[in-house]
Amino acid sequence: MLGERSLGSLIRNKGREGRRGYTLPKPDVEKTDLKKVLPKKSLRKEQPGLPEVDEPTAIRHYTNLSRKNWGIDTNFYPLGSCTMKHNPRANEAAAAVPGFAGLHPLQPEKGAQGALRVMHELQGFLSEISGLSAVSLQPMAGAQGELTSILMVRRYFEDAGDEGRTTVLVPSTAHGTNPATASMAGFKSLEVGLDEHGCVDVDELRGKVDASTAALMITNPNTCGVYERNIAEIAGVLHEKGAFLYMDGANMNANLGRMRPADATVDIMHFNLHKTFSTPHGGGGPGSGAIACSEALAPFRPDPVVEKTDEGYRFARPEKSIGRVSTFHGNFGVLLKAWNYIRMHGPELRDVTDMAVLNANYVRARLRGAYRIPYDELCKHEVVVQPPKGKKALDVAKGLIDHGYHPPTIYFPLVVKEAMLIEPTETESKETLDDFVGAMLELAESEQEDLEKAPTQAPTRRLDETRAARQLKARW
């Protein structure tokens, strides 16, 4: 960047001993002598090496850093399975309201009725959207929603005295968090293959489900962007053997008002509130992985849930709760934004899904021919494509950067070689999609050696990732 000697100039290098970026109120009581109140050996001997900068320097440093970062605000960001839709700024305004932003989590319930009411109403909204009767807002991310769900399944079987449930089934298209969650919850994960549509192979599943199966973790639509058309039958196969169907809700943006997991007899699922209800993603977090489940699993939900009584709203611990998964009440600020988003859409949430699915199918139709489309039938909110033979997904992705587009998810799902998973979302115009398709078509025709040079227009060229791992330097 202009005005900086190197791209990596760190905040710590921009200060000087004695500079300060913030002034605190003057002391109004006598200063306590630490040596008198603390054991000598507990006192810090050497100060931490933190930056010493003034406010203007700090603001300029972080503003300039932000300019090396792309977001939905700056660029089309069709990152598959991540639902990078526009983030309404009303959500940020809602979370900044002092009556919420300044509310201590241990404030007695009578002094937090507004917050509890928001949580109670959001529980109801998610219940209506999923069709599942019970909700927990506690999990703080999608992966934690998965873990919470699978721990609940585990506790259900322990409670029922059914000790033989040792396996969780996971389709080969699953997000990595699914098998990692199964392991973390103490299960062995077993993979299930696909049929010719990219959906769970029901015959293979039937052969793998037995008395040792605790659950199948299915994503619907799956990570090929295809609707799991046999989902009700799949649920039946599991239920017949006493196992549960868990649905990863990462792709709920394709389902709002069009399908309810409960109608397919899904037993438990998680939502990614930061994806579907746009709360936003914040560079990787914070998010929220609220869950919804059937009556059978409801007693096992994490502590607490919000109840409405004649005297007002209160927290309650479900009867056979797995316990707490967060210190306080989950990521309330994210819950508040999701509540606000849903209220700004109402039943028109279905339009969100319709436009998301329209956009993905339009991109699929426009890329046909130039790109290989392994499952070239109706897709839902995202479509998986492969570059022309001889070209790599990585090179096309880096080429897209030079055209001003954030690349799609690449090399995922793992079952598709050179996969490029494109999720346009509902908030993009036809013009944006047409321009993006134009760039994709141009890249399909590009010379390989030109592609390999990309990107040349970004804040950096391609990085040496091996060096980062081999010569680990993770601090100043």
Partner: protein
């Protein structure tokens, strides 16, 4: 059409035609079972109406009063510059930096966050943050089991935040409790089959603990020592890395994050470089690009769920990038001197309040134990005292349920508020 979706009817018709279907319903021909009825949700609201309701709900909370609650979340000053940075769309509306060429902003900010945590804890490596404090403690418990190749069983102090302990148990870790006397943990008798010994300092009751004794005890049985530390306290207290702790974890909320009813916050985790492969979550590392220019990238990705799947060291995918950014900007603005001043102000005010309460005839629960800005005071009727405080426009401390109130004092509290607190509590009897 709604304001967030740009298509006109003409756009929709042209696109349906390109796809080769007639109606939007046709796009869902493969969906079964289908939902036919509209969702039963409250009617759509304009932004103005929705935000008016947000204000109304906020009004149903008690707010704008001086707060003496702590117990894991602290009412500290948050500089305005933080919101100006974290609200920037480039940070707020991006995702995990899978494409480093266009994510250098977040990657460098994460690198700086890791550096701040390493400086505060005196440990070599930190991750890019986890969900929050309890989650950091639970992940550390699982980490000690992997590193010692023992079953996940940890010895914890009774001074560990009980909510942290609950989350550790939810995550399937067996917990044994260490002896606790006078507000201080006695780590002399640690079972020899545990993977980790957990000590929090200052502990849940505000007392400064002996991390060195806990790490000696842990190492004596081949276990690891995990120190749980408030990051602000590390401006005055010796760094856990210099006291033998193998892992330091904690809640980063005091570093510039609003209370917002318990989250989102950020959890931090730091350890020795030799243990880095068992550290869960994202890590940003320094490297160079093709032209030799310094840059940052997510590294040691082989630990993570999207690469290693069932054999990953955690299922965690999220890092709290925006809240971690808040912590980084906070640390930059405050610097070492400012951070120490925050601690000094809080300590001085807390000790002033504790002294005044004792002069008024109240006893501290642990009168001989060293504390910083949080302490337990015994009151004849804690509930009555808290009701009286609220009637006088003050949010009292945490009712410990056994005749004591846990009181936290931050740099925000004024002498006037402290004096009012004492007066109301004394009058409440």
């Amino acid at each position: 059409m709604a304001r967030f979706t740009p298509h006109t009817e003409a756009d929709i018709q042209e696109m349906l035609e390109a796809i080769g279907v007639e109606t939007l319903d046709d796009l869902f021909a493969d969906v079964s079972p289908k939902l036919e009825d509209p969702l039963d949700l409250p009617p759509v609201l304009s932004e103005y109406e929705a935000l008016k309701d947000v204000e109304a709900r906020a009004g149903e909370n008690v707010s704008g009063l001086p707060i003496f609650l702590g117990a894991g979340a602290y009412d500290r000053i948050t500089p305005s510059a933080i919101g100006a940075i974290t609200g920037r769309g480039e940070f707020l509306t991006s995702y995990t930096p899978y494409q480093p060429e266009v994510s250098q902003g977040h990657l460098q900010a994460v690198f700086e966050f890791q550096s701040v945590i390493s400086e505060l804890t005196s440990l070599d490596v930190s991750n890019a943050s986890v969900y929050e404090g309890a989650n950091a403690v639970a992940e550390a418990a699982l980490m000690t089991a992997r590193l010692t190749k023992r079953d996940p069983k940890v010895a914890v102090s009774a001074g560990l935040n009980p909510r942290y302990r609950e989350v550790v148990e939810t995550y399937g870790v067996e917990v044994v409790e260490l002896a606790f006397d006078g507000g201080i943990t006695d780590s002399s008798a640690v079972p020899d089959d545990v993977s980790g010994v957990f000590v929090q300092s200052p502990n849940f009751f505000g007392v400064v603990e002996d991390i060195e004794a806990a790490s000696d005890a842990a190492h004596g049985v081949g276990a690891l020592c995990v120190a749980v530390c408030d990051p602000i306290s590390l401006s005055v207290l010796e760094a856990p890395g210099n006291l033998g702790a193998d892992v330091a974890v904690g809640e980063a909320q005091p570093l510039g994050m609003p209370l917002i009813f318990g989250g989102p916050y950020a959890g931090y985790m730091a350890t020795h470089e030799k243990f880095v492969r068992q550290l869960p979550g994202r890590i940003a590392g320094e490297t160079v690009d093709k032209d030799g220019k310094l840059a940052y990238v997510l590294t040691l990705r082989g630990r993570e769920q999207d690469i290693r799947r069932a054999r990953a060291n955690s299922n965690i995918c999220t890092n709290q990038a925006v809240t971690a950014l808040a912590a980084t900007v906070y640390a930059a603005l405050m610097g070492p001197e400012g951070l120490r001043e925050v601690a000094d102000l809080s300590i001085s005010k807390a000790h002033y309040l504790a002294d005044r309460l004792q002069v008024s005839g109240f006893k501290l629960r642990y009168p001989d134990a060293p504390f910083l800005w949080e302490f337990a005071v015994e009151l004849p009727d804690v509930e009555r005292a808290n009701d009286a405080l609220l009637d006088n426009g003050i949010v009292g401390g945490l009712d410990l349920g056994d005749g004591a109130m846990l009181v936290a004092v931050t740099e925000k509290r004024t002498k006037e508020e402290l004096d009012a607190f004492v007066e109301v509590v004394a009058n409440a009897g």
